[in-house]
């Protein structure tokens, strides 16, 4: 047994004693190159696409400039899979082990995570690898260009899934609910026709085909997979694969502050109570901890982005102090970041953390706007609405097979970036194989239609 394994075992026993409840964790020590790729792809084995190549280079550049350091990656499931970086010190990796246990506890008990787990089973990592393999087979049989066209469309719409919906969702009911023929009153019966004429034939209205979609449909990936007029089976497969992975990423996205905060709270606590760790190692690990949860970059007094580790960590300490661990576990079970921030980021904490709302104008001037609590909460949460994407819905599948999309600009506050939207339509059109239209507003707020 290596030293790390010994510490990991003891930390785990401590964690169970302190009430953490999680599926087994498979740790793997991986080289830096793999860690970088996992950070880029979001999964250890995932479908190929050129856009990942761009992110990969950006990540390499950031790492080489020292702006980004990867400590761990953890994939919820049963068992959870965690990757430790082989270049990190023993102290770092001990800290990371404790941190991962916090994540594992969160992933098993948080409602959003548990819901996906129930729908998809605990082995999405294997599923994703299988998706990647099927896509590779598709590339072999249909050619890279064709598969890439499908991936261009599917990945561009990645965030456009119904996060509250089912993973395996049935098609719409084909027929509208049957309408009963209006009941005739005695009066109508008597005077509806002339005396002596034969009884009119009772006409059954019969089933009426429902409009598609029956309501604005925001799950674009699902809709295209099921209703595109000429989609091949393998293309549908790709769309559904991207959708499954997107649904898997959603809890991580929606609970980032809570989840990272919870893991940071637990790694700090586990290390504090781990009397079996040698003192120098504990000190080194503590140093790493304070690097992770610090609010500002070194030497600065303000930050224009809030470090989710720091915010989450502080919030959880606050909750545990104020309401006790039992209540904290309840909160962890029930909330996502929206509820967590709105219910538990209070005035006292906002003051303690020096939170503010700033405004960046087009002249690049940045100034502090206010320290209003509600404004702070909403500013933190704003990038998280609707999976971080504009609200775009399918409104109509026309008789000629063309597709109408509508951007809900009123709730998003402004129109779409027309240039990019046009390109997304171009991607979509290649898969939909019929005209695609999108209604939004332009920069002057006038109604605007894009078509491809």
């Amino acid at each position: 047994m290596t030293e790390l394994e010994q510490y990991a075992d003891s930390i785990e026993q401590l964690a169970r004693r302190l009430g953490l409840d999680y599926y087994d964790v498979d740790f793997e020590v991986a080289p830096a190159s793999l860690m970088t790729e996992i950070a880029v792809y979001g999964l250890p084995v995932r479908m190929p696409h050129w856009s990942f190549g761009v992110r990969y280079i950006h990540q390499l550049v950031r790492q080489s400039m020292g702006h980004s350091k990867i400590f761990e990656v953890m994939f919820p499931g049963d068992p959870c899979r965690a990757f430790l970086m082989d270049g990190n010190s023993l102290a770092d990796n001990t800290l990371v082990t404790a941190h991962v246990l916090g994540h594992a506890d969160f992933a098993k008990n948080n409602e959003l995570f548990a819901r996906f787990h129930a729908m998809a089973g605990g082995n999405i990592v294997e599923h994703a690898a299988a998706h990647a393999q099927r896509i590779q087979q598709a590339i072999d049989s249909f050619g890279l260009e064709k598969v890439e066209a499908v991936l261009d469309a599917a990945l561009a719409l990645e965030s456009h899934v119904d996060v509250g919906g089912e993973l395996h969702r049935a098609r719409y009911a084909e027929f509208a609910p049957e309408r009963k023929a209006a009941r005739q009153t005695d009066f109508q019966k008597r005077f509806g026709q002339l005396p002596g004429t034969p009884e009119p034939l009772q006409q059954e209205p019969g089933p009426v085909r429902a409009a598609i979609p029956p309501h604005p449909e925001f799950d674009l990936l699902w809709f295209i997979a099921h209703y595109a007029p000429e989609l091949e089976q393998w293309e549908r497969d790709i769309f559904l694969a991207v959708r499954a992975e997107s649904l898997y990423f959603y809890p991580v996205f929606a609970c980032q502050i809570m989840n990272e905060g919870w893991a940071s709270y637990w790694h700090a606590r586990l290390l504090r109570e781990a009397d079996f760790l040698p003192q120098p190692l504990y000190v080194a690990a503590l140093k790493s901890h304070s690097d992770v949860v610090r609010p500002y970059a070194a030497g600065q007094e303000t930050a224009l982005a809030i470090n989710p580790y720091h915010l989450g960590f502080t919030l959880w300490e606050h909750v545990v102090d104020k309401h006790g661990m039992a209540r904290a576990r309840e909160v962890m079970h029930e909330e996502d970041d929206f509820g967590f921030i709105r219910n538990f980021l209070d005035r006292e904490l906002a003051d303690k953390l020096d939170l503010f709302v700033y405004e960046a104008s087009s002249g690049d001037e940045i100034k502090v706007l206010n320290r209003d609590l509600d404004a702070i909460r909403e500013a933190i949460l704003a990038p998280k609405f609707n999976y971080g994407a504009p609200r775009v819905a399918v409104t109509e599948l026309r008789n000629d097979g063309s597709l109408d999309l509508k951007h809900e600009h009123a709730s998003d506050g402004r129109g779409l970036d027309l240039n990019r939207a046009k390109r997304v339509l171009d991607y979509t059109r290649r898969v939909w194989r019929r005209p695609v239209r999108l209604h939004t507003v332009n920069e002057r707020g006038e109604s605007h239609e894009l078509a491809a």
């Binding site: 190549g53 700033y358 704003a382």
Partner: protein
Amino acid sequence: MIRIAAETPWYELFSRGARDWLRHNQKVREAVKGSLPEILSGDDLLSAPGGNRTVMVPVKFLEHARFRLAEAASQQGAGQGRGEPGDVLQPGRQEGERAAQSGGTENGEIRFVVEMKLDEIIDWVWEELKLPDLKPKRTSTMDEPDYVREGWDRRGARSRLDRRRTMKEAVKRRAIQENPVAIVNEDLRFRQLVKRPTPSTNAAVMFALDVSGSMDEAQRKLAKQFFFFALQGIRRQYAKVETVFLAHAAQAWEFEEREFFQASSSGGTVSSCVFQLGLEVMRTRYDPGRYNVYFFYASDGENAAEDREPAAAALKSLAELTNYAGYVETGGIATFRPRETQLAEMFHELQAAGMPVGMSPLGSQDDVWRAIREFFKERAADD
């Protein structure tokens, strides 16, 4: 139970990030095709020797588009630290500063450079425009006798001994002889040469440019791009291509390529002098009997009125000798003209008379392609 797996070495076998990065670069190359003319405007593109020349093309990363909200006039965010409402954390930049910055990289955007082979680029262009290959003239005067290997003989110069063939003969002989000798004189075989006429594969390309005051910088740049692609098209076909650069205003000079595009002259336009100079060059250096001569001329089309007759005559004799004479008229589409220019008229007359000449307007970047397509299509049709 925490299991710490042993390191699994397959990760090192291939990098998925690198694979997708290479695919991205491949797509970039394809995207670059679309903007070739702007890329190819270096100083010595035309006369630099062929072969493995490359150009460095600065490119941006491709962006995989997603739905995104339009840029707002001002953005709000949550921050942390000291500061009272109203405090300015970062002063706005002055207009001048912004302009200076936008010349560099915007938003810390990373740019990179791809190296592209020129030949590869030219092949793309030909594929894209679906251009046919040029054919050399097939007149008898074009034929240039050459020695070609053909057959074997028992006698010959030692240097042309065919060892392989000789050994075969020896083997055959030994197979039917008793107590054979290793090699005898009768086994020897020598390669024979015969005289064969072959079509000439030399080409000379003359570029003539009007450098009178009426040709502005943009027009010259277009002419240069056109010249470049015309030359590349000819290079694709001929083993050896020589270039001549002629510029003229009221009189004509020959230049090195480097100075050629810088040359400028005030004064009027007398086209006949450059046609004469072209004839002179052919007479002294590129005998049309041995060279496939191409003549390309770029001008804004305004020639001195009194030069009409001499120019027409000189152009006619030039067109008779060259494989092809092409004329591009710069500014042709962009500016309003009440009538055809004098030079355009002259070329049209020759074209109507069935001479191998062509003309095309050159007003914008796209016209470069149009002109290339026009000239090379016509050449194929002629043959």
